[in-house]
Symmetry: C2
Subunit: 227 residues, 2 copies
């Protein structure tokens, strides 16, 4: 299963790329410009101290979406709509993991506040934009900090809360995501649950700032998920 990380040149995208490379998956970095994606591949090689990573490539978002079997969107909110529109024709029937968080930074505010989106959540916005393409949108990765992802020699001490309207896609997503050491994936229900999960991120960013950390995350307690 080829994973295409769209907008995969920022810390969040790169972190996810590295984690899946470490897990032995085939990964494509997508970027608005192919050159940036290729440069990101070089950066990953440097970070992992490898001359060659045969299971990693870089290309424009459109090509990455075309070649990928499962797509992961890791762009700031302002880039979400244009990126989705650019890849829509290549996403038909695929699973899209949406990591977009509606931070108030999009409107000139701070990262410790959210903005309310018309659709309810960034993930539902993705689903709306891609409605005609039968794309299965799964909200994921929202609460795992970029630094946490990029700290790739350490396990991640954070649950990944996912939401989505297609159970089969969520199962595939969870199986994939749990290849990242330390991450437990929790199905929170239908896609509209992303309205809550996305809002937890500015809370965690606020805690990171207040308590001088970069690794704020969360674990759900009190529930046996293995039943």
């Amino acid at each position: 299963m080829k994973i295409a990380v769209l907008g995969g040149t920022g810390d969040q995208g790169l972190g996810i790329v590295i984690r899946f490379i470490q897990a032995g998956e085939e990964v494509i970095i997508g970027s608005r410009k192919a050159e940036k994606a290729v440069a990101a591949v070089e950066k990953v090689k440097e970070l992992l101290e490898k001359d060659d990573i045969p299971n990693l490539s870089g290309m424009a978002n459109e090509d990455a979406a075309d070649k990928g079997d499962i797509l992961i969107l890791t762009v700031p909110l302002a880039a979400q709509m244009p990126t989705l529109k650019s890849i829509a024709d290549f996403a038909e029937g695929k699973i899209l993991l949406d990591a977009t968080v509606p931070l108030d930074t999009v409107a000139g505010g701070g990262p410790t506040r959210y903005v309310d989106l018309w659709e309810g959540s960034a993930a539902e916005r993705s689903a709306a934009v891609l409605k005609k393409k039968n794309v299965k949108v799964v909200s994921a990765f929202n609460n795992i900090s970029n630094s946490h992802l990029m700290n790739f020699n350490e396990d991640i001490d954070c649950d990944c809360l996912i939401s989505g309207d297609d159970n089969e896609s969520k199962k595939i997503a969870a199986e994939l995501i749990e290849k990242i050491p330390g991450v437990r994936c929790i199905d929170c229900g239908p896609l509209d649950k992303a309205r809550i999960v996305e809002k937890i991120t500015p809370l965690l960013i606020g805690l990171n700032i207040k308590y001088r950390s970069h690794y704020g995350g969360l674990r759900i307690t009190g529930i046996n998920f293995d039943k």
Copy 2:
């Protein structure tokens, strides 16, 4: 320090009452009707299998607010405004811990969804209603389930995320709340952070329903709060 639990006859209120009685605090149960508060005292005696609990009493909300040094509001959203208005004259200058969660049940919906309040959160609504009374509102207890509180022979495996605009009040609140075994209190910042914390509750209720639990909670990870 006398603790008055206003609307303390439901499971959430009773659970908090019992936890503070166990911690040796002096507690007053308040209810709309004094008789109900007195009956709740009897219920606590039964539950704790004690003939007498000298540090527990029951009375009307107004009297409880008058006698209490620190007030805890544990009512459903629909009862929040009337309760606050009834106790406002007796709350002058005191600390009010607000446990109210804006669940969609108030509008005939389910407990796995929230409603948006004009003030942003239930806690900010309390602050607005009590503005002229110099009450220090601290949002607290939102994410600890009623069953968890009522399961009083077990420690609570959940953080208590608090928010408020007065740091001294938050310190007093945190010291008090951490007398409940297992609970770690985390200051999330100004009162408007309750907009996020309150919304986590319907997510946890949804997880409880989905995974057949009653004890869903959360722990913040990745941050050293002792620094």
